[in-house]
Symmetry: C2
Subunit: 253 residues, 2 copies
DNA sequence: TGCGAATGGTGCGATAATCGCACATAGTGG
DNA sequence: CCACTATGTGCGATTATCGCACCATTCGCA
């Protein structure tokens, strides 16, 4: 039935894999069954296949992702020249600003860190690294990504906006969220503070994208880092110069 | 035919995905067909499925991995508490040694970087980051991993050893490679220089693993960084203390 | 101890999804 | 102009997959 050019079994297997994206260390078979909504026997067979192919491994009390998925991510990062081109630029910008700097893109309805650098002085980390997923609506990265994505993405994001606030400052009003994204598009940068993590603020600027998918360059710091007048301008300046230095992602080669 | 508990379509789809691991930015359909050895029509349908599921995207002149694979990797890293626990330790060790420090594990016949930190002074990077795959036989990380893996892994690695040397110093003699791995096991650390990258040397120490899969902590620097007497001992000391600080990967939670 | 619920493993027949050949088109280069 | 490669797709035969059903085991709890 349905589409002749769609391999259902493969799609279901990927669905099973996707159950592990939410940072759960170990999932049991029944848990995967619940999350995926697939038949119990099917889930079992798919999991056995995934284990045999090296994408999952059996741990104590369930299944967990295997290092194999890192190799896959390595293919993505390697193709983008992240190691050689992006990383040095991010490091330099991080030192210059004394702030965390990250390159991010969009995966469906999340912002995803592609690479990240922190200054040597940073003694505390928010715990976000490569592959971390952040909300689109309530972070600077996310809003800049939305500003550069099609309108349908914004609609989907608004439709899927969280029922509960991340913090007391989380904006939930659709009209205001639309305005924030629109402002990001017109200003050429996005700013957000306290809405996702209390005490944290972020700035994001666009970066020449690869095909349809936009990339953004962003920095995160504690809120008071931006209090000083002129600080925002300096951050924007460094970020934009870094964006130019990186250029179009994946364009070379 | 064959196994009742093995979803062939899923396995083939993963095979297609794996074609992109080797850092190729864009692959055309015929290229994937060649690499995977599957039927042309099958490859096409699987690719269409992978695109629809968001794991591949169409770029100029072929298909390429989508950011989605990063989200998957993020699930793996998040489950291991890499962001919060590992990263700070690596950063601290990197600064203390003024060398690049990495946490690595094994994926089949490759060593894979799980996380990495470089000191602020580092102005040049080898281009390896999270997800980068290194050979098992000719790097310090790899040999330490082999020393902690089952004997069958060593045999497979030896059987699959490269036909051409990476550098003029690459050891290709099976007996000597076995001895190097055995030495790593007995000494409790591995050392390699020039064998993979000319001018680069590495040291690796074991780390409490997660289940069967071993982890190692390693540092990389230019060869002359280890010339100074007593330097190796100091590196080992810092690495081992860092390994203790990280503890058993994924054990908490 | 005994009961019920949850988990894990598996056989099997019907169904439908997959396979892979085959045909068709377009672009490229000699 | 032809050979070659890339790409798209229809279709019949095959067979892999589905998902129900049944059974074994473990665990919690009364």
């Amino acid at each position: 039935m349905s589409d002749r050019d769609f391999a259902q079994t493969l799609a279901k297997g990927l669905e099973v894999l996707a159950c592990f994206e939410s940072g759960a260390l170990c999932l049991t078979l029944p848990e995967i069954t619940r999350r995926s909504g697939l038949d119990r026997a099917v889930v079992r067979r798919l999991c056995l296949t995934l284990v045999r192919c090296g994408y999952l491994e059996e741990g104590e009390g369930g299944l967990r992702l295997a290092p194999r998925v890192l190799t896959l991510a390595g293919g993505f990062l390697g193709g983008l020249q992240v190691g050689r081109v992006v990383q040095p630029v991010l490091r330099h910008a991080a030192e210059e600003l004394d702030m965390e700097v990250a390159l991010a893109t969009r995966d469906r309805l999340h912002a995803v860190y592609v690479d990240r650098a922190a200054p040597a002085s940073a003694r505390v980390t928010l715990g976000f690294g490569i592959g971390s997923a952040l909300p689109l609506l309530h972070t600077a990265v996310g809003r800049m990504l939305l500003a550069r994505s099609g309108p349908e993405v914004l609609e989907q994001a608004l439709a899927a906006r969280p029922a509960t606030r991340y913090t007391e400052a989380t904006e939930l009003d659709p009209a205001r969220l639309r305005a924030a994204v629109e402002a990001a598009r017109e200003q050429g940068f996005a700013f957000a503070r306290d809405e996702f993590e209390l005490g944290a603020a972020g700035v994001a600027v666009p970066l020449g994208g690869l095909g349809q998918v936009p990339f953004v360059l962003a920095t995160t710091a504690s809120v008071n880092a931006f209090d000083e007048p002129g600080r925002l301008e300096r951050v924007l300046d460094v970020l934009r110069r870094s964006a130019l230095a990186i250029g179009r992602i994946g364009a070379p080669r």
